[in-house]
């Protein structure tokens, strides 16, 4: 790890350690296990929206306020494919088809959006925020118009993922473990992509200096489209992964977008490693705070407020986020 990350990592680890210690003091061990798993589960969902947000912001300077919409569209697209398959198709196949369809559909849609709408605005960051906000509204309303304002009934995942197991004495749904696994896999794959492939190296180089990358003969426009599509595909996959558990409803994207933005800011915008670490941190903080506020306040107030407060504290100490560079 680079030396300049060392401090960021130490701060993050201190945060994590503090949280775990707090949980251990407040709750019995069995409950702590469930809290930690629940935190990981939430963190992974945040990560799936935040990943695209972070890469796209780093490379293109676009704060894509429609990232949450791809999460939502992924869920609806997956549901549609799941339901459209001929009768008698095994659940596992339906489920897998839904995952693939959401990913591919999200990616294609992302590419289309980047080419037609985002591209003309690269020099005007504030306008991109307005434009993507408009895009989010449009996506939301179209889904509402087609499927109605109420959510869809969650689809059934394969049987193995539809049960509970015991974790350190507490009960935990296997589907949530699946989400954790899926998130962790995607996190690892994205990190590998960024560090081990030529495309990843180009993306990271582009985050630092787009112009120079192009001057070296790389068609950066295509890399932009690909990156944007990739971010959207991850979000869409996140949406369909989460949907069997949380359902599909038009506003689901907005809820995750805010958390994802917080994750990205906390990690330091344009630092992908920061986003990965921060999403786990925020997930755990949220799960712990949820438990605390349910136990002591009788209301989930602390859950959301806590991560907002954490973000505010971190920004006051490190104005460019945990892994951000001080200069930007």
């Amino acid at each position: 790890m680079l030396p300049r990350y060392r401090r960021s990592l130490l701060i993050s680890l201190a945060f994590l350690g503090g949280l775990a210690a707090l949980d251990l003091i407040l709750f019995p061990a069995g409950q702590v296990g469930v809290i930690l798993l629940s935190g990981l589960y939430q963190g992974m969902l945040f990560f799936l929206v935040a990943a695209g947000l972070s890469i796209v912001f780093g490379l293109l300077d676009v704060l894509n306020m429609a990232q949450g919409s791809f999460f939502m569209l992924g869920a609806y697209l997956g549901f549609a494919v799941y339901g459209a398959l001929p009768e008698g198709t095994p659940v596992t196949w339906r489920f897998l088809a839904a995952l693939v369809a959401a990913t591919v559909g999200g990616g294609l849609l992302g590419a289309l959006v980047e080419r037609s709408l985002i591209r003309p605005l690269y020099a005007r960051p504030i306008f991109q925020i307005v434009l993507t906000l408009g895009l989010a509204t449009v996506a939301n309303e179209i889904v509402r118009a087609i499927y109605g304002p109420a959510g869809l009934i969650p689809i059934t995942p394969p049987a193995a993922l539809d049960t509970t197991i015991s974790v350190l004495g507490g009960r935990f749904e296997t589907y949530r473990l699946f989400i954790i696994g899926m998130g962790a896999t995607l996190m690892a794959l994205t990190l590998l992509l960024l560090h081990r492939t030529r495309l990843g190296i180009i993306i990271r180089a582009g985050v630092e200096d787009r112009e120079m990358v192009e001057a070296l003969g790389v068609p950066i426009g295509r890399v932009f489209t690909l990156t944007f599509a990739l971010g959207c595909a991850i979000a869409a996959l996140g949406g369909i992964t989460a949907a069997p558990y949380i359902g599909a409803y038009p506003a689901m994207g907005d809820a995750f977008l805010l958390n994802a933005i917080i994750v990205v800011v906390l990690g330091g915008m344009s630092s992908f490693e920061g986003t990965a670490v921060a999403s786990i941190l925020v997930g755990l903080a949220r799960a712990s705070a949820e438990q605390v506020s349910l136990e002591y306040l009788g209301s989930p107030l602390l859950a959301t407020v806590s991560i907002l407060l954490i973000m505010i504290l971190v920004l006051l100490v490190r104005p460019s986020g945990l892994f951000g560079s001080e200069t930007s």
Binding site: I126, F127, V130, M269, L297, S299, L301, L309, L315
Partner: protein, 427 residues
């Protein structure tokens, strides 16, 4: 920039300026009577005139205005002389005409809908649409002071708006305060919040600052919606509170109309004066190149604080009006919507222009109302615009960003840029 210009502009003082002055004189007794709440005879006469149905009130208002016109102009010229305070109005020709229209709008509405301006009916309803528009215009103008004139991007303006509605409501309902002290305390609280925000701006910059303010507004939003404080705030449902009779929009809606219009004018005047003051010039410098402004010797933090606190206070004032209009507050006044709306109104109208945010507010709010019940046939589909308003709005944002990057007013002004020595030239 005066001199030869003054003579050709003097005619501007004759027409809309005089109309205004006349109308103000005409309206003053009614407003005073309304404030006092007594003066029965006068009120009855006034009500009879204003509240009649059909064209009577319109003709009355127009006639009354014109009647007092000559007097007002003569008086104004005698009192003010050639270079007095009213001559400042000559820069606002078109704005004064629009203002004149807005002043007789309640009567126009009554005339156009053939209903009374004072009791439940079409005209009465449309008055409330205009009141909401004025409130949004104040909010958008205050946002523009920060974002457009000073270059401070915030995503948390709803915090100030919501603070207005909640502050005044909670103080009146639970602390048993009168309206005016409750308003004063709420504005003071908003200034404190503004100081905190600007303190943060010292350390956290750019998008980080914007997200920071978003988080701050969200915390207030969550607190307001939370069940822990249900006895105080009514949680998700919000709460209602009683307002003094003279400002109760259910009965004295026209008073409320003129009050909110007056506050919009005040907002415009405050921002206009500030931007043309020495401090306002510093704000323009900070927006253009903050570092260089520091090197010139300006403590830029002071000026950013000024912009943030003032914008916050004006936003809070809009929120107070909103609370009084609805006689209640609910968490959505703290929601992201009341940050996004003024941002969009500003951008669509024209960032960093005086009229842009106000035009944006009128456009969005009135268009929504006008199109609410329109059904359009698109081939086989019947589209109810009202139901799909949000969709249309989304498309509008996308289109306006792509087509009118400078906003409506910005684009107009850009075209007339070559007609030099306009006083807005360097704004």
């Amino acid at each position: 920039m005066s001199g030869p210009m003054a003579d050709s502009r003097r005619r501007g003082l004759w027409s809309p300026g005089a109309l205004l002055a006349g109308l103000a004189l005409l309206a003053a007794p009614f407003l005073v009577a309304g404030f006092l709440g007594e003066g029965a005879t006068f009120r009855m006469a006034a009500a009879a005139m204003i509240c009649a149905e059909g064209y009577t009130p319109f003709v009355g208002a127009a006639l009354g205005t014109w009647l007092l016109l000559g007097m007002a102009v003569l008086g104004a010229r005698r009192v003010a002389g050639a270079n007095g305070p009213l001559t400042a109005l000559r820069n606002h020709g078109a704005r004064l005409w629009i203002l004149y229209l807005l002043l007789i709008t309640p009567f126009l509405l009554a005339w156009a809908t053939d209903s009374s301006a004072c009791i439940r009916g079409k005209a009465f309803f449309w008055q409330s649409v205009f009141i909401e528009t004025f409130i949004l215009a104040i909010l958008a103008a205050s946002y523009n002071l920060m974002f457009g004139f000073s270059g401070v991007l915030s995503f948390g303006h709803a915090a100030f708006f919501g603070l207005g509605a909640y502050g005044v409501g909670l103080l009146m309902k639970h602390a048993g305060m009168d309206l005016v002290p409750a308003m004063v305390i709420t504005i003071v609280a908003s200034a404190v919040l503004g100081l905190m925000v600007s303190g943060i701006a010292l350390r956290v910059h750019g998008l980080y600052f914007a997200i920071f303010t978003l988080a701050m507004a969200e915390i207030l939003h969550l607190l307001a919606a939370n069940r822990i404080f249900v006895d105080l705030t009514g949680a998700e449902d919000g709460f209602t509170f009683a307002v003094p009779d003279w400002i109760n929009a259910a009965s004295n809606r026209m008073t409320f109309y003129y009050l909110s219009l007056g506050l919009l004018i005040l907002t415009f005047a405050v921002i206009y004066r500030l931007i043309y003051s020495p401090s306002g010039r510093v704000l323009a410098a900070v927006r253009d190149n903050e570092q260089r402004a520091q090197m010139l010797g300006f403590n830029t933090f002071t000026y950013k604080t000024l912009a943030i606190v003032l914008a916050g206070a004006l936003g809070t004032m809009a929120g107070i009006l909103r609370g009084l209009l609805n006689k209640g507050a609910s968490p959505n006044v703290l929601g992201v919507g009341f940050t996004v709306d003024p941002l969009l109104m500003t951008i669509i109208g024209g960032t960093g222009t005086f009229d842009g945010p106000i035009v944006g507010a009128f456009l969005l709010r009135l268009a929504e109302q006008l199109l609410r019940d329109t059904v359009v046939s698109l081939g086989p589909w019947q589209v109810n615009i009202g139901e799909r308003w949000a969709l249309l709005l989304g498309v509008l944002f996308i289109a306006s960003v792509l087509i009118f990057p400078k906003g409506i007013i910005g684009s107009l002004r850009f075209r007339s840029k070559l007609s030099a020595s306009r006083e807005d030239e360097t704004m």
